[in-house]
């Protein structure tokens, strides 16, 4: 009996894209359910009643939520082309940096993108500090996973797409190639990797979308 694999996602969600990338690396076939988050389907609400978000992977009727949890599930269920390192210490490091990416890097970059004035200056300073740590992790490596793309590359993959989009919209410099040469190179390598390249959502639509998302923050009155 064929396995049933379904991915609930949106056209633009960077978290969902991690799963699309992972499923492609593993060579898995699956059905896609494209969601409109302003009008969530009954299925989405049934499969993710707590967070009501995408992505959701449904495997033989059983749902898994939270993109980093889904990545580990995929890696443990299908053993070809491993995403996480085998060594427990290297695995721990990958998990540690993925958490750092979610809780610190993503937060500071989003804050810099959506704030102004002093708040923005602080967010940019925090971002610069956070990115220095990431830069160090790339020493001697092409990808975070080593020679080939792995879990941590997928976890940071949003940067390879969104940083230039945010920079274009806000006129900020988030990743300076002179200060962060390894990270800049990684962003190019990841973006242009043959497996990843064709999966990026249309750039013009992304620029339009994030411009619109930024608007309400700009209209906030600064007292």
């Amino acid at each position: 009996m064929a396995e049933e694999l379904k991915l609930f996602r949106t056209w633009s969600s960077p978290f969902s894209l991690r799963i699309v990338q992972a499923l492609k690396i593993k060579g898995l076939e699956y059905d896609t359910v494209l969601e409109d988050l302003s009008n969530k389907s009954d299925s989405l609400l049934k499969y993710n009643p707590i967070h009501k978000k995408v992505p959701i992977l449904v495997h033989n009727g059983k749902p898994i939520c939270e993109s980093l949890v889904i990545l580990e599930y995929i890696d443990e269920t299908w053993k070809q082309n491993p995403l996480l390192p085998q060594d427990p210490y290297e695995k721990a490091m990958a998990r540690f940096w993925a958490k750092f990416g979610e809780e610190k890097v993503l937060v500071s970059i989003w804050s810099a993108f959506t704030s102004q004035g002093k708040e923005q200056e602080e967010a940019l300073a925090t971002t610069a500090n956070n990115l220095k740590f990431i830069e160090e992790q790339l020493k001697g490596k092409k990808f975070f996973g080593g020679e080939i793309i792995g879990y941590l590359d997928l976890a940071f993959g949003w940067m390879a797409n969104l940083v230039s989009i945010f920079e274009e919209i806000s006129n900020l410099k988030l990743v300076d190639a002179e200060l962060l040469p390894l990270l800049s190179t990684w962003m190019d390598n990841f973006s242009n990797d043959p497996v990843i390249k064709e999966l990026w959502p249309p750039r013009d639509r992304m620029v339009e979308k994030f411009k619109a998302m930024r608007e309400p923050y700009l209209n906030k009155v600064i007292v």
């Binding site: 707590i50 898994i64 939520c65 939270e66 949890v69 580990e72 695995k91 721990a92 750092f100 740590f133």
Partner: protein, 224 residues
Amino acid sequence: MEEVKLFGSSYSPFSRRVEMALKLKGVEYEFIEEDLSNKSPLLLKYNPIHKKIPVLLHNGKPIAESSVIIEYIDETWEGPSILPKDPYERAMARFWVKFIDEKCSAAMWKAFASPGEEGEKAKEEAAQLLKFLEEEIKGKKFFGGENIGLVDISANFIGYWFGILQEIAGLEILTKEKYPNLCKWIDGYINDNFVKDNLPAKDKMTEAFKALAQPGFSGYKPKV
């Protein structure tokens, strides 16, 4: 001979989780009690990014973040499994730990520590979020089933710390009336022979946290 060291704090639920994991596996380790108002140079060397405890040092290599450390412990040492074996069950355990730490406990801390409107909102949020855990524990002795597992270990803040904070602040969020199943789990949890050896003494904890909830205190930020 293996060298295992844990930089931690006796009052920190995150630190205690890691100790529970080590003890479940029967790992011998040296515990270094950190003064969080005066962090040691070693702690800052081993966790320069967050400068927090707990940090596990195994043969000179440091690991930070309690959830990451616990998975490392489960993968490195023999003994009772902390995470389930089945990939789907593992995913569910990781999902619940994330929910407990990032949503539930966060709202519960705020309900205790934040003054005014922020605190009120947090109380409502915590009440809603706890309902999901109430549902999840129904019919089970522990979140891990018959024995404690990853989720039970990671829910120590809910199982023990919050009860004390609730008393200090005069809150009535987590009550038997509203959450009968969750409170039953709490009873089983804090009286479990293994778990109770890994909880700090109630009187000492009450004193420590009371000191932080003085009138005029603008809000408690977890020191860890």
